[in-house]
Amino acid sequence: MIVPVIKVENLKMYYKTKMGYVQAVDGISFELEAGESLGIVGESGCGKTSVSMTLLRTLPENAHFMGGHVWFNDNGKMVDLTQLPEDEMRHYRWRGISMVFQAAMNSLNPVYKVGDQIVEAILNHYPDTPIDQAKAKVAKLFELVTLDPKRMEQYPHQYSGGMKQRAVIALSLACDPKVIIADEPTTALDVIVQDKILRELKKIQKELNMAMIYISHDIAVIAEVSDKIAVMYAGKFVEEADSTTIFKRPMHPYTFLLMNAFPSHVGPKKKLFTIPGEPPNLLNPPKGCRFAPRCPWADNRCREQDPEYVEVEKGHYLACWHPLTEEVRQNELRK
């Protein structure tokens, strides 16, 4: 039996506001093996970034952990990260799970040399490392992300956007993490630079046999980097499967509409689908299935009862009362 590197069970995290609780992460489950990559795709405000913050426990003050487990495989022993005291959690942060942040431009300190910032990260987590060894490690990391090691002596403002993003990836790899979370790491970059970063990230992930969680709103990017894809809507996963299944045989109406709402510049020009309405406010999400108000297939049961998230076929998870069949999909595409 293969033991996962990370296993998340029914994770819940709400933000407390004056108007009530925002149900940003509402019962999320998934697991990931070494060398595997999971793409989490969803629209802005669906809670995908909150998932990563909850996993790392780097939450703002008004965030409330509401339950669930994050099992992390520490050399064969499964540790529940949600139950650890903060000083023990620090041990797993960066060494166990690290993160490539969304705004790479702002996640480097402008007044320190880039190389020194990464050396600092290593020394923070492994205080006994001799400094020369740490520096040699950073030089190696720079080569891995195709940056000239001479640039270790430079400051962030001397870097271009793509170079900063590479430095941030090197930083996230500094302590040999088992899991790396990449939260929209290429959103601010132009496509040619984005292409290079994606290729490098994929290569490094396979070489180091890391598990990767890649978070993005861009379905095309997710399609390219992920072995499996989880579709998130209004604080919940609605469907998860291997990437081909998600694209070719989606069963959840939201997944199906989303995949067909995305234009492509290659292949035949397809009709684009629209999804009526807007995503719900998570302060007061709709009763029943959260997608029901926008779903063309919704009936009374959908509006009353929230469907459970279950495994419908091997490795294919779904929360829907009316899974789409091949016939329905083909009919819709022909319309």
């Binding site: 629209e43 802005s44 271009s160 793509g162 132009d190 496509v191 040619i192 630079v193 984005q194 292409d195 994606l198 290729r199 709103h217 861009d218 379905i219 095309a220 990017v221 399609a223 390219e224 992920s226 990437s243 081909t244 998600i246 694209f247 509409l257 989303l258 995949m259 709402a261 995305f262 234009p263 492509s264 510049h265 290659v266 292949g267 020009k269 684009l272 689908f273 629209t274 999804i275 009526p276 807007e278 995503p279």
Partner: protein, 337 residues
């Protein structure tokens, strides 16, 4: 051209348009160096046709659009609308023909005005109709852009609307004077996928109903494919390739267009993209040498010996009907479809 535009009038004509911005100017000193943001750009737009300006950030696409709506003064060159230089129109005349939609619907609407005031403002400025007529026109536009029932939106403020709804308000405002040309600068790039297609389809539908042309500025080739008849690809202030949309996407010729197309991720996990064939990174065109603007990054720069290194930037030349390319290697048949 194979478009059904024969007999229609030329709406917009841009000729040798240039915009240089001073770079690194010391206090009181005269600028010595210039960023060539837009450098000798020419194109035409026929009534009812839409053109996409596509390129990466810093390629000059937005500056071109801003000059066309007179938000920026050209350094050199001519812009004509209906065969008349745009400076010869007075402001009112001009803006009843040419309007703009901006990228960020959170910035482009005045937060202290109601939706009615925002959409009716151009009517007030141009003194069109009585108050009742204005209200009727605004109501009609609101329902046309899909904000229904319109009277429930009239007296609301922008902060009460979502991003997609705000962009619909911006579209209604741009349409209220029945313009002939709308410069749309990335109007859907801030919107979520599920909302974006709705706005794109709305814009396509309104184009037919109001017979308006778009100059559609975007970095996204896939979006441009659905919105425009022709695409002009820009690189560092120059148009490097211009062709009908499907022709350009199926037979790109310029090495930059090819690289750009290979770099765009495809929403299909089974599709294997080839790696973009391009050297190095994008730079800023400060006092660029007169040779081909793409020279430093071009993988084909030596196929014609040192010609690309010594001759001036290649002209946009028609290599197939309606398909223009600025590349000597393509002109000489060294790069094929």
């Amino acid at each position: 051209m194979s478009l059904e535009n024969k007999g229609k009038k030329t709406l917009l004509e841009v000729k040798n348009l240039k915009k240089y911005f001073p770079a690194e100017r010391a206090l009181f000193a005269r600028a010595k160096h210039f960023v060539h943001a837009v450098d000798d750009v020419s194109f035409e737009l026929i009534e009812g046709e839409s053109l996409g300006l596509v390129g990466e950030s810093g390629c000059g696409k937005t500056t071109t659009g801003r000059m066309i709506v007179r938000l920026e003064t050209p350094t050199d060159g001519i812009i004509k609308v209906y065969e008349k230089n745009i400076n010869e129109y007075n402001r009112m005349e001009y803006h009843s023909m040419v309007q703009m939609i901006f990228q960020d619907p959170y910035e482009s609407l005045n937060p202290r005005m109601t939706i009615f005031d925002i959409i009716a403002e151009p009517l007030n400025i141009h003194n069109v109709g009585t108050l009742e007529e204005r209200e009727e026109r605004v109501m009609k536009l609101l329902s046309e852009v899909g904000l229904t029932p319109p009277d429930s939106f009239l007296w609301r403020y922008p902060h009460e609307l979502s991003g997609g709804q705000r962009q619909r308000v911006a579209i209604a405002r741009a349409l209220v004077l029945n313009p002939k040309l709308i410069v749309a600068d990335e109007p859907t790039s801030m919107l979520d996928v599920s909302v974006r297609t709705g706005v794109m389809q709305l814009m396509m539908q309104l184009q037919e109903e109001h017979s308006v042309s778009y100059l559609y500025i975007t970095h996204d080739l896939a979006v441009a494919r659905y919105m425009v008849n022709r695409i002009a690809v820009m690189y560092l202030g120059k148009i490097v390739e211009l062709a009908e949309t499907e022709e350009l996407l199926s037979h790109p010729l310029h090495p930059y267009t090819k690289a750009l197309m290979d770099a765009v991720p495809v929403p299909d996990p089974e599709y294997k993209r080839s790696e973009p064939n391009i050297i190095g990174n994008i730079s800023v065109p400060i006092d660029p040498p007169p040779i081909c603007r793409f020279y430093d990054r071009c993988p084909f720069r030596e196929v014609l010996g040192n010609r690309c290194k010594v001759e001036e930037h290649p002209p946009l030349k028609e290599v197939a009907p309606g398909h223009y390319v600025a590349c000597y290697a393509v002109h000489e048949g060294k790069i094929m479809k």
